[in-house]
């Protein structure tokens, strides 16, 4: 076994893409908040980004095989933390998601996402055949199901949903059979259908969640609620036009018509001020980031590394898809932030730690 890898083995392209996206985020957070009571938020975000960078490098130094070794313990810690949150967590914005750490509130579910990526990577790496048996599939499902149920209990539908693509992408790469794909899809369709079907959704969704679904389907019925949010977001995006209104000049953004414009709807603010050309840049960067992750997975030394990287890709991809689709009114409001652009400590930390795992795999690709 060679010595620990050097810095030139890091994926500098990936880091460059990452840094550019972060820069766009900071610019837009500044634009969205500098004239309001939230002024100075971009500095806080920069602080989080700095912490994230350090955490990323720190995590990349620790061989991922050692991390995977501890998967059962991590899983236990994760589940315990989720239970703890439900028992003693702080309630903010109507949900119990936060526990205080070092004077800041951390969202435990962000950490759990990371743990599930690790746990699933280990689980699927251990599957030796090219085809995933139904037994293994169910096992994986149960592994994900427990924390998912606990997160739903907080309630945090958005984060809970992120666990699903981790399972789907992992299972797919582990050799999901087409029969199982069919069953999977059927179950998925049934679940989505039931969410949109009031007589059933009444039993499985919280009132505010059902309201979001309704206002997504009929935004005009709910002019000030989340239908209003979606509409205002669409107005912001649409009014930006091709060239955008210019930095700090988006009326929807500056006058506060865009809901949480510095966080979940930051893409809306960006699209208004920078126009379609700005969107092209941002989405291009995200696409490059994701493709770069897939490339890293393809070059991973082993299945375990590949699953780790693809777990991260699945999580980030899902975040981007759901958030951006919401901004343009293609999906209901779920409260999923846009990775690296949205303001938020825990979410930023999660992304950097996840990228840390990717780097971890990357720098060890030639190690034997």
């Amino acid at each position: 076994m060679k010595e620990a890898p050097g810095t030139r083995d890091y994926d500098w392209w990936l880091l460059a893409i990452l840094a550019t996206i972060c820069a766009l985020g900071v610019i837009e957070i500044y634009s969205a908040t500098h004239g309001s009571s939230l002024a100075g938020m971009h500095m806080k975000q920069i602080r989080w980004l700095a912490i994230g960078f350090i955490a990323m490098f720190a995590l990349s130094r620790l061989d991922y095989h050692l991390i995977l070794d501890q998967a059962p313990i991590l899983y236990l810690v994760g589940v315990t933390a989720l239970v703890a949150v439900l028992l003693v967590g702080r309630t903010r914005f109507g949900a119990k998601r936060w526990i205080p750490v070092l004077g800041e509130f951390l969202q435990v579910s962000e950490l759990v996402k990371l743990i599930i990526i690790i746990v699933l990577a280990r689980f699927f790496a251990e599957v030796r055949s090219d085809e995933l048996s139904l037994r293994d599939l169910i096992k994986a499902g149960l592994l994900v199901g427990l924390p998912l149920a606990l997160i739903l209990k907080q309630p945090d539908l958005g984060t809970a949903l992120v666990l699903v693509p981790l399972l789907v992408v992992g299972a797919y790469l582990a050799g999901l059979q087409w029969q199982h794909t069919a069953i999977f899809s059927l179950a998925g369709i049934l679940l989505i259908g039931s969410v949109f079907y009031p007589p059933v959704s009444r039993h499985i969704l919280k009132p505010y969640q059902r309201e979001r679904i309704t206002s997504f389907l009929h935004p005009e019925d709910d002019a000030k609620g989340s239908g209003y949010q979606l509409l205002q977001s669409e107005i912001a995006v649409g009014s930006g036009g091709f060239w955008g209104k210019g930095f700090g000049k988006g009326s929807q953004n500056q006058l506060g018509y865009i809901p949480v414009r510095y966080s979940d709807f930051i893409m809306s603010a960006w699209a208004e001020e920078q126009g379609f050309k700005g969107v092209l840049l941002a989405l291009g960067l995200y696409m490059a980031l994701l493709l770069r992750l897939v490339q890293n997975a393809q070059r991973a030394k082993d299945r375990a590394g590949m699953f780790l990287v693809m777990g991260v890709a699945a999580a980030l991809g899902f975040h981007v898809l759901v958030n951006v689709a919401m901004v343009i009114g293609y999906m209901p409001v779920t409260g999923i932030p846009l990775p690296l652009m949205s303001y938020g400590g825990s979410a930023t930390l999660f992304v950097f730690l996840a990228i840390g795992l990717v780097m971890n795999v990357r720098i060890r690709r030639f190690v034997n």
């Binding site: 095989h65 995977l68 070794d69 280990r122 790496a125 251990e126 030796r128 090219d130 992408v169 797919y172 790469l173 582990a174 050799g175 005009e220 019925d221 002019a223 000030k224 205002q232 669409e234 107005i235 912001a236 995006v237 649409g238 009014s239 930006g240 036009g241 091709f242 009326s251 929807q252 006058l255 506060g256 018509y257 699209a271 126009g275 379609f276 969107v279 092209l280 989405l283 291009g284 995200y286 696409m287 994701l290 493709l291 897939v294 997975a297 393809q298 991973a300 030394k301 082993d302 299945r303 375990a304 590949m306 693809m310 890709a313 991809g317 898809l321 951006v324 689709a325 343009i328 293609y330």
Partner: protein, 644 residues
């Protein structure tokens, strides 16, 4: 290294490649979404964003003020606030309606009705839902800016009229524009706009009404104003000067007092109306804001018809005042000749019917009567004979050429024509022949003949002017004042005006009690039955059937400066009820004229120059008339001081 970690490097490259395609496809779909919003529908969303951000609030133009002939303010404005409802988002309006209804104290029913009424308007036009906002309303709106961002305060100018219904029929009043007016206005009027509904307010609405401007403000998502955009200024309405003399108007109002009737004073040399009173008079301040349907119905159904401008709309038998037209016709046609005399035993019989002659202050008849005596003592029998000989068509000819039976053309809406009957008229309206007996009644201003107080002032003034009829008007600088000339011979004019001078100044004249020293005051009284004597005696002497009292006076005796026509309904004898009112107004006219020529009134004049009033303090400027008016109001309507 852990036991489970073999050298398992079989990677599912194909599936990873598929994942790459999925990523590209996903970003592609999102980009299509952005393309649709930002490129295809961009204009629509840009508009929506603009509508979000910019709130347009009308700036109401103040109506022009009305000044009297000396520049004193008769009608002006005071600032007030209305509540506007912004209707950009119908769904939100619907949702917030109950809260608005409760907060502003407007019934939900009423709100819905108002919304319904404005359904044809563009959504971005706000509507007035409460014309007069109280302090509590303002507080409600301010405190709910974020959760009910649909309400806005609108500064408006309310009309302020002199209190107690002073001159209210001439000035008219403003009211909310009706649906028909909106439709007919070609987009000029919007619901909630105030327009002139009657009188001068309506006649000169186009002058008085300015053009509203638009204030555009930038509001943030909680409805707070954060910036201003260029404002489209309101263009105020024009101030107009009337021919009304405030002093004469006041004397006329007081002299008529609470009696039902009308006073018209005009200068026959120019046609300028100096005073115009109609009682009872509603106080337009009471409905300057918004009248409920109920109140309106009450005003309309009031048996005293307060909304009727009696000066131009009361079409009543002119009674003996009509004898001046008869005398002119007789002298001009020489039928019968001037030498004609009649014997009056207090009645006469024509076509088998007895016609009475009401003899003022006497129990027997007038005896032998010539034209002069017939006018000053107002002998009916003489004119029965004249009428019989002239025939209805000659009477009709003279009456209509002297201004009766058609509009004088005064610059007020809804002037009535009165009626001068003729053979042609009965044929057209009743499809029958004219009965000669009807001519006998018409000869003394009874029967079918009717006239308005204004028409009588116009007719008598024209005779005294020697056949020159100037179109009556209220606007001081009225363009194109029509002048009609009806050639009456000089001797006729002299004889008729001599007789009218005699009415007041000769021993047996019916207006003998009205003499004014130093003034050539002339005139003619009239006492018109509203039902005939037979019916009246059967019903008993109820006040309802008291005669209408007329007096039309003027001074001086030739080429008069002022003609005053007064009607006192159910006032009894003309010279007793209406005569003193005419005298008071004529006296006031000369008193003022004397003062002016003595030079004692100059200081007052300077004080009331219109320019001084308009620039400094309108509230203070209106004060003098208000104060002096106070006593008169109390005298006429003591109950009006009760706080309601």
């Amino acid at each position: 290294m852990s036991y489970w970690f073999g050298n398992d490097n079989r990677l599912p490259q194909q599936r990873l490649a598929i994942v790459s395609y999925v990523i590209v496809g996903m970003v592609g779909v999102l980009l299509i979404g952005f393309w649709k919003l930002q490129v295809i529908d961009s204009d629509k969303f840009l508009q929506w964003a603009e509508r979000n951000r910019v709130r347009s609030i009308p700036v109401i133009a103040p109506r022009g003020r009305m000044l009297d002939r000396d520049g004193r303010v008769l009608v002006d404005n005071y600032p007030s606030f209305s509540v506007l409802l912004l209707r950009d988002d119908p769904a939100q309006v619907e949702k917030n309606l109950p809260a608005i209804s409760e907060g502003l104290g407007i019934s939900l029913q009423d709100l819905k009705e108002q919304l319904q009424n404005s359904r044809n308007l563009k959504n971005f036009q706000p509507i007035v839902i409460k014309p007069e906002a109280s302090k509590a309303d303002v507080a409600f709106i301010e405190s709910h800016r974020s959760d009910i961002p649909l309400l806005e305060m609108l500064m408006v100018h309310r009309r302020r009229y002199l209190p107690g219904g002073f001159m209210s029929h001439a000035s008219g009043y403003v009211g909310e524009v009706s649906e028909q007016q909106i439709e007919a206005s070609n987009g000029r009027f919007r619901p909630g706009d105030f327009v002139g509904k009657s009188g001068i307010e309506r006649q000169y609405n186009d002058l008085l009404q300015g053009t509203d401007g638009m204030r555009r403000v930038v509001v943030n998502s909680v409805g707070k104003e954060v910036d201003h955009l260029p404002t489209q200024e309101a263009i105020p309405g024009k101030q107009i000067q009337l021919t009304i003399d405030y002093d004469l108007q006041q004397v006329a109002e007081q002299a008529l007092s609470t009696r039902e009737g009308a006073v018209v004073a005009l200068d026959p040399r120019s046609g300028e109306i100096l005073a115009m009173v109609s009682h009872p008079a509603p106080d337009p301040n009471d409905f300057a804001i918004r009248v409920s349907n109920e109140e309106w119905k009450q005003l309309n159904d009031d048996p005293a018809t307060p909304l009727l401008n009696r000066a131009i709309q009361a079409q009543l038998a002119p009674g003996s005042v009509f004898k001046i037209i008869m005398a002119t016709a007789m002298l001009e046609d020489k039928v019968p000749p001037l030498s004609f005399t009649a014997y009056c035993p207090a009645y006469a019989v024509f076509y088998g019917r007895q016609f009475k002659c009401h003899v003022f202050g006497k129990t027997s008849g007038h005896g032998v009567v010539d034209l002069h005596k017939a006018i000053i003592e107002s002998c009916d029998v003489f004119f029965y004979n004249v009428g019989q000989r002239l025939g209805i068509d000659r009477i009709s000819y003279y009456a209509s050429h002297m201004g009766l039976g058609r509009r004088t053309g005064i610059d007020l809406p809804s002037e009535e024509t009165g009626l001068v009957p003729s053979e042609e008229w009965v044929q057209r309206v009743f499809h029958r022949r004219w009965y000669p007996g009807e001519t006998i009644s018409v000869a003394i201003g009874q029967g079918a003949v009717t006239a308005t107080p204004l028409q009588l002032a116009y007719a008598i003034g024209g005779v005294a002017m020697g056949g020159v009829y100037k179109q009556p008007h209220l606007l001081k600088d009225a363009p194109n004042v029509r002048e009609e000339r009806f050639s009456i011979s000089e001797s006729t004019v002299e004889k008729v005006t001599d007789a009218m001078y005699g009415v007041v100044n000769e021993a047996h004249g019916t207006g003998g009690a009205l003499k004014l020293t130093g003034v050539d005051f002339s005139g003619k009284s009239g006492t018109a039955q509203i039902i005939n004597y037979d019916l009246r005696s059967r019903l008993g002497k109820n006040k309802q059937f008291k005669d209408n009292s007329w007096f039309v006076g003027y001074a001086p005796r030739r080429t008069p400066e002022i003609v005053v026509s007064v009607l006192v309904q159910a006032g009894g004898h003309g010279s007793e009820a209406a005569g003193p009112v005419v005298r008071d107004v004529v006296k006031a006219y000369y008193d003022k004229k004397m003062k002016k020529t003595d030079g004692t009134v100059t200081a007052e004049n300077k004080e009331t120059k219109p320019r001084d009033l308009s620039s400094a303090a309108p509230a203070a400027a209106i004060q003098p008339p208000l104060n002096t008016r106070g006593a008169a109001v109390a005298l006429r309507e003591p109950q009006s001081e009760d706080p309601r």
